[in-house]
């Protein structure tokens, strides 16, 4: 009887704590902040790649992971997927689907980065600015940064309540 009461008390204490953590993480303001940070980051990241697709193609070539025939196509298409998906997040059009696309890209970046770190291949990340004079960000830092963005993406994806400042949002989509 005593044990059971203590157990129940513990559980009762536990529930509000879990709930408050859940409420903070999944508050509509946190969702909005995560969505805007992620969206703005991807819009920003697309900018210099769109201006200089040849330089971006060379960076993809430098990763030494993709077939020659796919390099230019990736350099043409990827920046615009970043731009449109980023815009969709910021203005709140199909936020959940846009986050899926962005998470897929982040996963691909993380796998590419990790592969080249593991095999010790020297490369230029080309994540944001394409700057041949200052190519090397430390790959480990890039990996951590991408993992942070992926965490934001997962948060936005898992959020199931009404989103703030959205043009169109699918609650269950």
């Amino acid at each position: 009887m005593y044990l059971s009461t203590a157990f129940r008390a513990g559980r009762l204490k536990g529930i509000p704590l879990n709930n408050s953590l859940h409420n903070i993480l999944f508050s509509s303001w946190i969702e909005l902040a995560a969505r805007w940070v992620l969206g703005a980051t991807f819009i920003y990241a697309s900018y210099s790649k769109i201006l200089a697709p040849a330089d971006f193609a060379k960076i993809i070539f430098g990763y030494d992971l993709f077939p020659a025939s796919a390099i230019n196509l990736a350099a043409i298409i990827l920046p615009f997927v970043e731009l449109i998906a980023g815009l969709a997040l910021v203005i709140g059009v199909y936020p959940r689907s846009a986050t899926l696309i962005i998470n897929a890209m982040l996963l691909a970046f993380i796998v590419s980065l990790a592969t080249n770190i593991i095999r010790g291949h020297e490369f230029d990340c080309g994540c944001f600015a394409i700057n041949p004079d200052n190519p090397s960000n430390f790959p480990g830092t890039l990996l951590i940064r991408d993992l942070f963005f992926l965490a934001l993406g997962i948060l936005v994806f898992l959020y199931r309540k009404q989103r703030r400042l959205c043009i169109s949002s699918t609650l269950k989509g």
């Binding site: 697709p53 040849a54 193609a57 390099i71 230019n72 350099a75 615009f80 696309i101």
Partner: protein
């Protein structure tokens, strides 16, 4: 199902926009690039691409013949630091990144009649081509690009300093 539809809309819009912008952009690239180092300098084949295949010197041996003839000035397109760290013996430094600052001095020293061979750091480097383009624009007529650059030269044990 709804998600698939939404993803298709986002990706479809991105694809259409991507190919439209690439088609009209002055920096647009070809759908397939040249990424085989065995065939020469790698390039995305952009509309503003500096690569002119006709002026390429494809092998170290050919470059060596031109070098031995003594009729060619070898011009190093890499940064001043790279040049200081090691360059083809007798080569002149003209970093493509500082071309505008340095071309006046270069013009003063080397008349447009001379024959030039530019080089940078190999077949994944476009600087030698960019420099060749710039030099052609400034009136030099006999400009060639040694595409294997300093690493290729050094690997064959040819004179460096």
């Amino acid at each position: 199902m709804k998600t698939i539809k939404e993803i298709s809309i986002i990706l479809g819009l991105a694809f259409v926009l991507a190919f439209t912008v690439n088609y009209f952009s002055p920096t647009g690239i070809a759908v397939v690039g040249q990424w085989d180092t065995a065939q020469g300098v790698v390039t995305a084949k952009a509309k503003n691409d500096p690569v002119i295949n006709e002026i390429e010197i494809a092998t170290v041996d050919q470059a060596r013949i031109l070098y031995e003839s003594g009729d060619y000035i070898f011009v190093d397109a890499r940064s001043a630091e790279d040049y200081e760290a090691g360059h083809i013996k007798g080569a002149v430094s003209l970093p493509v990144g500082q071309f505008e600052d340095k071309i006046a001095g270069f013009l003063g020293q080397y008349p447009p009649e001379i024959s030039i061979v530019t080089y940078c750091s190999g077949r994944t480097c476009l600087d030698s081509h960019q420099l060749a383009d710039n030099l052609l624009e400034f009136g030099y007529e006999k400009v060639n690009v040694f595409i294997d650059g300093f690493p290729g030269w050094e690997a064959e044990g040819h004179p460096v300093e």
